[in-house]
Every structure is written in C-alpha cells, then in structure tokens.
Symmetry: C2
Subunit: 334 residues, 2 copies
DNA sequence: TTGAAAGCGGTACCAC
DNA sequence: GTGGTACCGCTTTCAA
C-alpha cells in the first residue's frame, strides 16, 4: 500500500480475499454481511488505513453530507456565536460545513454557483437572497433555510425583531422618555428595517412622530458617528438597531460628549451579542435565542433534506429583553 | 432536460452535436478547441444550465479546490476576524472552505478523519496538533499550515508573542511598575504559554521573580475572576495573555474594586482583537497583523499544494504595540 | 449472504 | 482540433 496512493476498497478486498462489494457493504449503514467476514474486512481496513472516499460516495449516492452556510459580513459582526453553534449542531448530525463568508452581498451569485457545483445537501443562509435566487434553490432541488431573513416560499428561522423592539420602546416610553433618536441600518437589510419600522411605529402610536434618524452600517464606528448628530438634535433616548452601533453610540456619548449613561441619555441595542454583556457597557437590549434558533434551522433543514416534499416551514422566536444599565426603562408591567 | 436531474456534459454534447470530450475541454483552463465550437458549446451549456460537477471533477483530477480550516473554540474568541480574512483570501484563489470549529481540542481526531475522506487540497489549522497528527498530514500528503501554533516539520505562520510580550513588559517596567500580576491561559495552549514565559522571563531579568499568577481560559469571565485575586495579592500591573481576559480584569477592577485604570492599576492584553479597540477599554495591547498573517498562511499553503516538494516554511510576524489608555507605560525609547 | 457488472460525471490520454 | 475510451472509487442492482 506504500506506493503513494491511498488505499481503496479494492485494496482491502484483495488483501482480505473478498469482493469489493463486500467491503462497500461493510461500511454501509445496514449491510447484509456475515459477521465473520465483516470482522475480517474491518481488520484489514484498519491495518492499511482504508477510509471510504467521500467524493466517490457522494458522486454515486447523490449525498455529500455537506451543508453550505452563507454569511453576510456586515450584518453579523456577532456571527461567531451563530456560526459556532451551527457548526457544532451540524457536525452532531454528521454534516460538514462549507463556509461562504461574503464581504459583499453582491457575491451571492458566485457563491450559489459554487453551491450547485458542489452538490451540497442543503444551505443555511444568513445573507439576503433575492426572489430569483430563492427560486434557483427550488430548481436545483437544494433545500435552504434562511436565518433571520425572509423570502416567500423559503423556510426560515428568525427572531421576531418587531416584538422585541416594541417591547423596548414601550419600556422607554413608560420610563418617561420623549425625545428619541434612531440609529438604523442599511436600507437593504431585512432585520435592520424590521427593527426600524417597529420602533418608529411604536413611537408614532405614542404620538411621537418626529424622530431624528441616522443610518449606520451596523458597525461600532457608524454608531459612534451617529451619536454626535443625534445629540445635537436633542435626543435623550437612543434606539440602535443592533448592539455594536449602540455600543459605539455609548462610547461617543460618554467619552466624547461627556454624558452619563443612563442618567443623561438612555441607549438600547438589539441582539444580545457578546459585546453587549461586557461590564463597561451592560447594554439594555433584546437577546436573540441563538441556540434555539440554530437548532431549529438545522432541524428544518435536515427535515427537508430527508423529505424533499416537506413544506418550507417558518419558525419565529421571540427575543428576551435584557435589562442592562444603559437605559432608564420601566422594568415591570407598564 | 426538465426530467429532474441536472444536466451533464453528455447532455450538452448531445444537443450541441459534439463529443463529450469537447464539452469537457471547453471548461478546462487551457483547452485546445476551435473558437466556433467553443462558442456553440458554451451557448448550449448556458441554455440548459449546465455546470461541471465538482465532485466528478475532483474524483478524477485529484483536486477538490477545498481547503479545510480547523479552529479551536476557546483559543480564539477573536477568531471571526481571522476566519473572515482566511475565507476571503481563499475564495480569491478559487478555493472553498470546509470549516471545522472545534468545541474541544479532543475533537481533532474526528475532524482529521473527515478531512482525509473529503480529500481536501490543504489545511489551515488554528488548533493544536500533536506530533502524531502532524505526521498524518505527511502520510496523507495533505499540506498543512499552522496558524499561531507550531509543530516540528509543519509549515506555520505566527505572531511572535515573545517579542511583543517583552516589549510590553519592558515598557511597564520603564514606567516604574514593580508589583506585577499575571493572568495566563490554559497549560496546553501554545500561544498562551509562549506569552506567559516571555513575560515572566522579562520580569525576572529585571529582578522581579515573585509574580502572582492566575490561570484563566481566555474568556472574559476568567479574566474577571482573576482580577480580584491578583488585587488581593497587591498587584498593580496586570499582564493578561489575551485581550478578552484583560478586558474582564479591567471591568472587575473598575466596577467591582472601584479602581481607576490606569491610575491605580495598569492592565495590558494581547491580540489587538476587535474588543480591545472599544472606547470604554482602549486596551494597551499588541496587535497581531491578522491580514498579513492570513495572507502568508494562504500563500504558504498554496505553494505547498502546487508543489508538494516545497519545504515546510515558517513565517514569523511581529506584533505592533498599541498604546491604549489602560496602562501607564513608557512610550518612547526606554 | 455474496460477487459481477453497470454506472455516477467527469478527466486525460490516445490515435486520427 | 477532435472524438473514443479507460478510469477515478464508490454504490447499487442483480443473479447466483
């Protein structure tokens, strides 16, 4: 076997004195093979270090046991948590992760191309997909589950940003805040816009329609920059649509503007990402149930991989308000 | 073609009235094919949506264009930056990433098994590999590049923690600090131990041999917990072997112990991770040149993929001291 | 239970 | 330049 190439099932067969088919069956889930023969084959296989070639298996069985994970860069400065969870859950189920981390949403088409070529069994997308792109999944018969995104006809798992945001705004209102400022996200981002409109809607129902708004790009820097402007416009309660921008705003408020948080200014975020829990920030935010969400995403995906006719289900989770110390809010029933 | 299966090169050949070989050549890098025929084939291919099957290509050509990336969980609470860089650089070179995110270092063996089965072209490992494991790479003829790890006989790219740590300690000493405390990492972690011994060595050369030490696990929480103990033992300059622990220590110092940083206490970290730059911390640390390091890792890897006989090179980078405001240090030549 | 043989969808080498 | 053909390493009938 030491001739350089890796051992194949034929090598095992030859040495064990059995047919190649027998070797194959030995490594199949419900083989029909005599125990003694099985022992022998496994022994030989172990000796020469034989492992089934995943490529060859996939080529014929039409099953790669690979799931592609697409993640948009900007969207999730907090994605490590999601990614780690997804990876762990998938490997428990014996799936490997082919990762596509986009730096631009425009790269999606190229990624899809690769996905088709590699015949992945399924896809989890935390990047925006157009209707046309979602349609391609159906054409190619590749199940997809969207993570915190929506698209008609596609399965999805998401955290109901609207509900969480309304909760947050309601509590800020109940605590007496009236001069709000909004740090929103890019126009093309689904969750950002969902949170933005939920916040504005909740405010307008309380009679507050003049809400200074600055659009950021989910980064610390953009939140930091937005703060100065909102302060100049008299805002006393800042609603940022994600945690990183809230944290940037908080630093700008405290360090650059010399304000006390939450005495002079209340700031809330959204996500419950790692950074929000840092002691220096202790952000009041809405935590997404990442673990439950990733589990659901994988459950939905595997269900659709195993039964192509399963309908594309949507799962909605609610976030958990985390009362930090970055905002004066009403904590109890308000 | 609408019979459910995806089009193959035979389908294209049949419709275009050419041989299957011609179709194959059409999609090969330096085809030898008549321009007119080429046009025709590409047109038909586009019409029926043909894409070469990566599995079949890989099976015969022995090239998957897939690189496995192994990342250990604890080690890199800052790995998103590394991962994003690696992914971006690899896709520029037309490689896909098969991601293995370990939650336990012990999972490495299982991961290696998957790696062999999937015939990846190369591996980048930011997880510890035993000598035996490194040897397996050689046996399987899979090039590997270690990221911030070392192992004899394996190519590696790393940031010289020793140099950076000595620099940091030297500056703390020059600023007059004498009562040091060390927050180190797990015993089995290479970079952690390298930084730890560099710090202790530098201190001992300055005549300081009594250095209270608490071992953490690279997390915020462990740094936070370590602080109380070090403070109780009279430390006034805290050296944490990574940023997250330094940040945890800083919060403990300021919030729980009511100390002013850096007036009462100096704290330094290591990595230059995203969190260190947050305004509330503005950590004095050593920044690893992540971008240059990932580029080097990929360059080394691709070189070895293309020329299996290329010797396993080691590249060492130096970190850049970032003078934040978390420590009183000597800034100029000391 | 077992082995022979036919593919899976390509690449590569071969005469022509 | 072109098509024929062997073959990559496995799964999957099928007949024995």
């Amino acid at each position: 076997m030491e001739d350089g190439r890796r051992p194949t099932s034929y090598d095992v067969a030859r040495i064990a004195g059995v047919s190649q088919s027998a070797v194959s069956r030995c490594f199949a889930p419900n083989a029909s093979i005599a125990p003694a023969k099985r022992e022998l084959i496994l022994k030989v296989a172990a000796e020469i270090g034989y492992k089934p070639n995943a490529l060859a298996q996939a080529l014929i069985s039409k099953r790669t046991n690979i799931v592609a994970v697409i993640i948009a860069a900007r969207t999730n400065l907090y994605y490590p948590e999601v990614l780690a969870e997804v990876g762990a859950r998938l490997s428990e189920k014996d799936f490997r992760v082919l990762l596509f981390a986009l730096s631009q949403e425009s790269e999606v088409d190229g990624v899809l191309d690769q996905i088709w070529r590699h015949s992945v069994d399924g896809v989890i997308s935390a990047a925006r997909l157009s209707t046309a792109q979602v349609a391609q999944f159906a054409e190619h018969r590749v199940p997809v589950v969207l993570y915190n995104r929506v698209a008609s006809g596609a399965a999805s798992v998401r955290c109901d940003s609207g509900e969480g945001e309304r909760d947050l705004v309601g509590r800020l209102l109940a605590a007496g805040h009236r001069r709000f400022g909004l740090i929103s996200g890019p126009l093309d981002n689904y969750v950002g816009e969902e949170r933005r409109s939920a916040a504005l809607m909740a405010l307008s129902m309380a009679g507050i329609t003049e809400v200074p708004e600055v659009r950021g790009d989910f980064t610390y820097e953009s939140g930091h920059a937005a703060m100065a402007e909102l302060h100049a416009r008299g805002c006393e309660a800042i609603i940022a649509v994600n945690d990183m921008m809230a944290i940037g705003a908080m630093d700008a408020a405290r360090i650059d503007l010399g304000l006390s948080v939450p005495q002079d200014l209340s700031i809330v975020g959204f996500d419950g990402s790692g950074a929000s829990r840092l002691g220096a920030y202790d952000l009041t935010t809405v935590r997404q149930p990442v673990r439950r969400m990733t589990e659901a995403a994988i459950e939905l995906l595997i269900k659709r991989i195993e039964d192509a006719s399963a309908p594309p289900e949507q799962r909605l989770f609610s976030g958990q308000m985390e009362a930090g110390s970055s905002a004066r809010i009403a904590v109890e029933g308000y």
